[in-house]
């Protein structure tokens, strides 16, 4: 127990004796983790967007004005692979549009007569069912135009995989940068106390006792840096999403609080682990060398 007290005291001495170094490390680590967290958010959002689009396996068939919705619906029903068909009359479509626009609904009145066509919304089971259905729909005389998300989903999935690869690269760079910064800081602390370390080992301190304050120093710096980054990032993200969502209401941003909290926890956990690894690397070889007999 006493050992634990000495350990805590020595760790905080290390942190505060070279406080300038500690601050510098703290900010470098948070910058690195901020970058890491931002890229994760970007790729999470890309995935989220894609999921949303894929979730809507719906083909919209705009019919020519005056078409009998019920008859068209029965015809389409016979195509197979169809989960559900919803008929939307022009009036219903207008109501929906108004609802989507919310407090800007009055712009709809600028449209004058309702220009919206009668529509069939056809849900299929899988994305692969969409193109053949679309082709058959286009061939129908009643159908004016067919809109489906297939092309968009494809584009988004390409974007998402690009963002995924980008954030992978950032992840690797961030890990290397964080480890190097922490390693360097701890090694300087070790170096500045090398005489002490030698004497301690010569008088019977165990390697663990000598190493632990340095390892804890690295872990605390890693943790604090990551926590700082996570806090700024998640706070910044919340306000950024609010702003973006009001200017681009058609985009669905990720707002899953639990997932974001988990991202924060992962960042802090990564900070602690990288701190541990980096400082262990920095101190263990020095101690081994100091213990080695001539």
């Amino acid at each position: 127990m006493s050992t634990f007290r000495y350990l805590m005291r020595d760790t905080f001495r290390l942190l505060f004796r070279h406080w300038g170094m500690s601050l510098l490390t703290l900010f470098s680590i948070s910058a690195v983790f901020f970058l890491l967290g931002a890229s994760s958010l970007l790729s999470l959002n890309a995935r989220h967007l894609l999921d949303n689009v894929e979730g809507q396996l719906t083909v919209q068939a705009y019919l020519k004005a005056g078409t009998d919705l019920a008859a068209a619906r029965d015809k389409v029903q016979s195509f197979g692979n169809i989960v559900q068909i919803t008929s939307v009359t022009p009036d219903e479509a207008l109501e929906r549009l108004k609802a989507r626009l919310g407090n800007r609904a009055e712009v709809v009145t600028l449209l004058g007569d309702n220009p919206l066509p009668p529509t069939l919304e056809i849900r299929v089971e899988r994305a692969s069912h969409v193109p053949p259905l679309a082709r058959r729909l286009v061939a129908m005389a009643e159908v004016d135009d067919v809109v489906y998300a297939g092309g968009l989903a494809e584009k988004l999935s390409r974007l998402s995989s690009f963002v995924g690869r980008l954030s992978m690269a950032i992840l690797v760079i961030a890990i290397v940068a964080a480890v190097m910064v922490l390693f360097n800081t701890v090694r300087m602390a070790v170096y500045s106390r090398r005489d002490e370390i030698h004497v301690m080992l010569q008088v019977g301190a165990t390697q663990t006792y000598v190493a632990l304050p340095f390892v804890l120093q690295g872990m605390l710096l890693g943790m604090a840096g990551a926590a700082l980054a996570a806090l700024t990032l998640l706070k910044g993200y919340a306000s950024a999403v609010d702003v973006l969502a009001s200017t681009m209401p058609f985009l669905q941003f990720l707002r899953d609080g639990a997932l974001l909290a988990r991202l924060g926890v992962v960042l802090v956990g990564a900070g602690i682990s990288l701190g541990w690894i980096a400082s262990w690397l920095a101190v263990v070889r020095f101690i081994r060398a100091a213990m080695k007999p001539l």
Partner: protein
């Protein structure tokens, strides 16, 4: 703890033979002077015992520890049975006198109150209590020497290795240091002291082991610095 050194040879890089087939046994509670000219191998012999130097050949047994085979963790525990006064003190300049002594006990996991009591007691004993708040650079050579001794004995070691603990000290302070070591020895600690000081060896008579070119050429109980042997 008994020390048994048998057939120890140490050849440093560059074919420097520092020790050459040394046999030496020191029983628990003995006081031994290691004498010999500069470069004869005294420091190396002490460092073999503290396992800072690994022999090229030969065996070193101290108590139940075989220093050739000892593992790193056991080495830490072995060294807690040793006290070492280095030829160059090796005090930590940014710690106070008190902290220089106390941190040894802390490293051994001794509770804070006991650390304070024992460090204070030892500093009293070497006459450095009144200097406890100073740092080593603020001390005279003799005072640093005393702190180095205090640090070496604060863990109540079974064996005290002192490498020229009176180097550069005036005769009176040297006397005090040897008296101090003698009283430590009287409380049961084995003392091995390397020295060039003829006066001390002749005045405070103990076993004398003379090293010459890495070999032991003389080993006398209650010996003199230069016995009647002529080299």
């Amino acid at each position: 703890m008994d020390i048994r050194i048998s057939g120890v040879t140490k050849i440093f890089e560059g074919d420097i033979v520092a020790l050459d087939g040394v046999y030496l046994s020191v029983g628990a509670g003995e006081f031994v002077y290691l004498v010999g000219t500069t470069g004869s191998g005294k420091t190396t012999l002490l460092r073999v015992i503290s396992r800072e130097v690994l022999p090229t050949k030969g065996q070193v047994l101290v108590g139940e520890f075989d220093l050739r085979r000892i593992r790193y963790n056991d080495l830490a525990y072995y060294r807690r049975d040793l006290g070492i006064v280095f030829q160059d003190f090796r005090l930590l300049p940014h710690l106070t006198v008190f902290e220089n002594v106390a941190f040894i006990l802390e490293a051994m996991g001794v509770p804070p109150k006991e650390v304070r009591d024992r460090s204070g007691f030892i500093l009293e004993r070497v006459g450095m209590w009144h200097r406890r708040f100073l740092r080593p650079p603020q001390l005279s050579g003799g005072e640093q020497q005393r702190v180095a001794i205090a640090r070496a004995i604060v863990n109540a070691p079974a064996i005290l290795l002192a490498d020229e603990p009176t180097g550069n000290l005036d005769p009176r302070t040297s006397d005090e240091i040897v008296q101090l070591l003698t009283s430590i020895n009287a409380s049961g600690t084995t003392v091995i002291m390397a020295t060039h000081n003829q006066y001390l060896v002749d005045a405070y008579r103990h076993r004398v082991v003379e090293v010459h070119r890495g070999r032991i050429i003389r080993d006398e109980p209650q010996g003199r610095y230069m016995a009647d042997v002529d080299l």
